[in-house]
């Protein structure tokens, strides 16, 4: 099984630390990158799209509430550049919000595979990859 590239987009520093540990523990990812907001992620994605196609992530775990560019805005950006990405990117919303509105809104984006409420576990990561 090929190891996957995973991107974590979340402004919570503690969460970033935690997810690092979990990713390491799961051992199913080749590389992982952390972004503090959607803007950082989309800029990086645009940069590697042409020249480093091999770095395009397989999985993105996306938070909703972030400064500069939040999860929903990030999804709008993805829609715009989607045609240029010749790879299936699996995007999960990972949020501490359990509000039904957020969950419903996630369903309106076809590129969002699922909604995972925090806390996320190693098992969750493995399940994502195996799916």
């Amino acid at each position: 099984m090929n190891k996957k590239i995973i991107w974590i987009i979340d402004d919570d520093v503690i969460y970033q630390t935690i997810i690092n540990k979990l990713i390491q523990k799961s051992g199913v990812f080749s590389t992982h990158s952390s972004f503090m907001n959607g803007k950082e992620a989309i800029t990086t994605l645009n940069n590697i799209l042409e020249i480093h196609k091999e770095y395009i992530p397989d999985i993105i775990l996306l938070d909703i509430n972030m400064p500069v560019m939040d999860g929903w805005e990030f999804m709008e950006e993805i829609k715009r550049i989607k045609s240029k990405i010749h790879k299936k990117i699996i995007i999960y919303i990972v949020s501490s919000s359990i509000a039904i509105e957020d969950k419903n809104k996630s369903k309106t984006f076809i590129d969002i595979i699922g909604y995972i409420p925090k806390p996320i576990s190693v098992d969750d990561l493995i399940a994502i990859v195996s799916n």
Binding site: I18, M36, N65, P67, I98, K118, P119
Partner: protein, 947 residues
Amino acid sequence: MNTEKLWYNIANWFMIRPRTSGFLLFLFLVFTVIIISAQRVYTISENQDNEMNVILNDINQSIEHSLIICYTTTVALELSIDDAGIPQNFDLIGKELFESNPIVSNVQIVPNGVIKYMYPLKGNEAAMNLNVLTSNSLQKESNKCIKAKKIFFAGPFKLAQGGIGIMGILPVHKENKFWGFTAVVIKLETLLDIPRIKFLDKSKYEFQFSKKNPITNKEEFFIPSKLDLSKSYYKNYAMPDSDWNLYLIAKKPYSIYAEVIIRLFLGLIIAIALSILTSRFLKKPIELKLLLKEQEEKLLKNEMKFKSMFEQTAVGFALVDASSGCLIEANDKFCDMLGYTSDEIKDKHFTNFTHHEDVEKSIQNFKSLGEGKIKEYSVEKRYITKSGNPIWVQLTVSRLWESNQKPSTNITVIKDITSKKEAQAQLEKSETRFKSIFENSPLPLWEKDFSAVKNHLVELDLMNKKPETVYSFFDEHPDELYKCVSLVKIIDVNHECLKLHKVKDKALLLENVIDLIDIEPFDEVKQQLVAISQNVKQFSIDSQIKISNGQIRDINLRWNIIEGYEDSLERVILSTQDITDSKIAEADILNSHQRTESLINTIDGIVWEFDFETMTFTFVSKKVETILGYTVAAYMGIPNFWEDHIYPEDREYALRTSKLVNKTHKNHDYEYRMIAKDGKIIWIRDIVNFVIEIDKPVISRGIMIDITIMKEAEKTLNNSLYLVSEQNKRLLNFSYIVSHNLRSHTSNIESIISLIESADTEEERNEMMHLLKSVSLSLDETMSHLNEVVNINTNIGLMISPLNLNIYFTKAKDILCEQIQLNEVSFVTNVTDDAVINYNPAYLESILYNLISNAIRYRHPQRKPIITIKLYNEKGENVIEVSDNGIGIDLARNGDKIFGMYKTFSNNPESRGIGLFITKNQVDAMGGTITVASDLNIGTTFKIYIK
């Protein structure tokens, strides 16, 4: 022939030009007069000349005669000189000569020019020894004389011996040698003492004697005269042997002209008179001609007038032969009336188109006229037109001949009176119809004559007086009232009338009328009299009568004056309808009506009725007074009262709805506000119903219910609902915040704990424990934030006090002074030192702190921050405006999140997403609002509205 014609033409030319002819004649006469006068002048002057010449000649001859005497004397003297040149016997000869010639005053012998011998000497001594050749007065003439060798008369000159005289000198030659002179002296007066001069007509002529002065060569006159010769008419004669001139001067040279001028003047007058007379005389025929022409024109006009009258008048004319009765001529109208052409009608006998019933009478009339019994007649008769229709005409026939003449022509004038006749027939018919209607009317009718009453009112001088005056007059004079009633004449009554009074026949009713007409109700009678005095044509009143059996009936008495009798009141139709039964019914209706009304008035709402035809309220219940405070009369009487008293904000809606409903006429109810009389605003629910007749609403009815209390309750309810939902909204928001923000920590804690549990090393565990600590810190922070928000939202009855805005502004600046100095922040403000706002002190401090610190935090990296703080009024609300020149924020993307908790929009590590959230909650808690406007890279403006 031609000459005759020429003469005629010339004469005619003069005849038709009287003025020119007169003038020409005048010229001719004047010319003649002038010629004659000239002739006359010439003749008279010639006569005068002749006379003067004869006289002058006579005088000359007389003088010549004297001179010849002188000459002979001198010759005699010469002869007395002998050859030796010595005078012989001078004294004797001189004396002889002197005595024989009485005109000679002195004889002289002048040898060598010196007077040596004289006779008589006495008195003439002065002349002795005078040298003639050297003497001033004689020198020239004597020399001249010597040369001529003949006698010469010198002088006149002043004689040395005195007086004026002339000297005849004869030169004496001895042996062809001048020896001297012989001379005679004649006194001038002697010379001129001639009868012809003496007896000259002094009134006409004057004699003058002159001589050219030999020295001065000037003519000298010797007879004193006043006449100026150069200006006078005269004849003269120059005498030979002397330089003498004889003059005969006409004293009145112009006398001949005077005579001629008078004649000339007379001639002129006669010429003028004659020419005027001639032109007058010539004018006469022309005037006559004009007069004739005028008369002719008048005649022609009259004829045309008659002709046009005959042809074009509205009446028919015809000339009828007085003996035969046949038509000679008829005008177009006549023909039109009868439908014949003028050719057809000619020679027709008048009986040909007379209605057969009228023929006999017509012939009789025609005969009477023909026999001279009558001069004219006028009848109404029928003619039959060509098409066979009868027409009625007014016929007037007059004869055009005198009684003593033979009958010649009658003139017939006809006027179509068919329509008048028809109208008359119609009138008769309608009269008959009126009678039958009158008789068969279901109402009791009376035909009465009020004329006597009116006349009596005229006598009493009550006509057209004020109604009150008339009424009170009859109040004061009841006898006059009775009199008036008795003056009413009853012409007729109908069958129904007999029924009403329960009387068998008319005669009986008329007999007992005085008893039947009960004038007890004086008031009604007076009112009728008042009506008559005001010239009204109709009258109606409810009254009572007593019928034959003594029963009292209610009647409605009405009268109408029949058309055409409005002035005289001779025919008045009176109806006395028995309304006893209907009165009872009416009373019943009135009762039920009153009951309904009182019922309606008890309804707690304004019941109304609106008529679409008149567009007015026909009914409004009394409740309007209790609900709105207006009187029913005002509500119904004043136009647009309802519209004008709707609350202005609702007026448009109410009127629009009302209009729409009236169009669709669907029953409807709607709510609006009205303004009551006391100024209160009343909520009305108006329930409208329509009464439809033939698909058209004729009346709308409705009830206006006062729903003010309900509306107020509804308002209170709405207010609390609003409050509750606001609260709910905040709670929901809060719960979201709680769930989201607390869960992020708890989930982290959960993850860390599971990581601790599965930690392989102590180091790893310590690391996790450290992480847990920081989570716990941020959880604490979040908890304290939440606590703050909860505090804000649960703080009811916050203390509000007047605060000096500048003091709080300064406070915020003091707290932030470090950053302000560091970043070189400058402030701009319009807030005055005395500006005061009502606010909670803690909130104001917090809000100002948050906004100013945000402005510094999000400053633009390339420029020094400038923060502007303003206080102003916007639509009655105080506004604090804080604006900066910072980086700005993309509101299109973040507008909905800007006041959310933990919403940050930059990577600024100091952003915590709590300041604006708190600020928003504080502003909300104070009942105000906060708005934001921003442009990226330009700046951001926050406005806080203070309630």
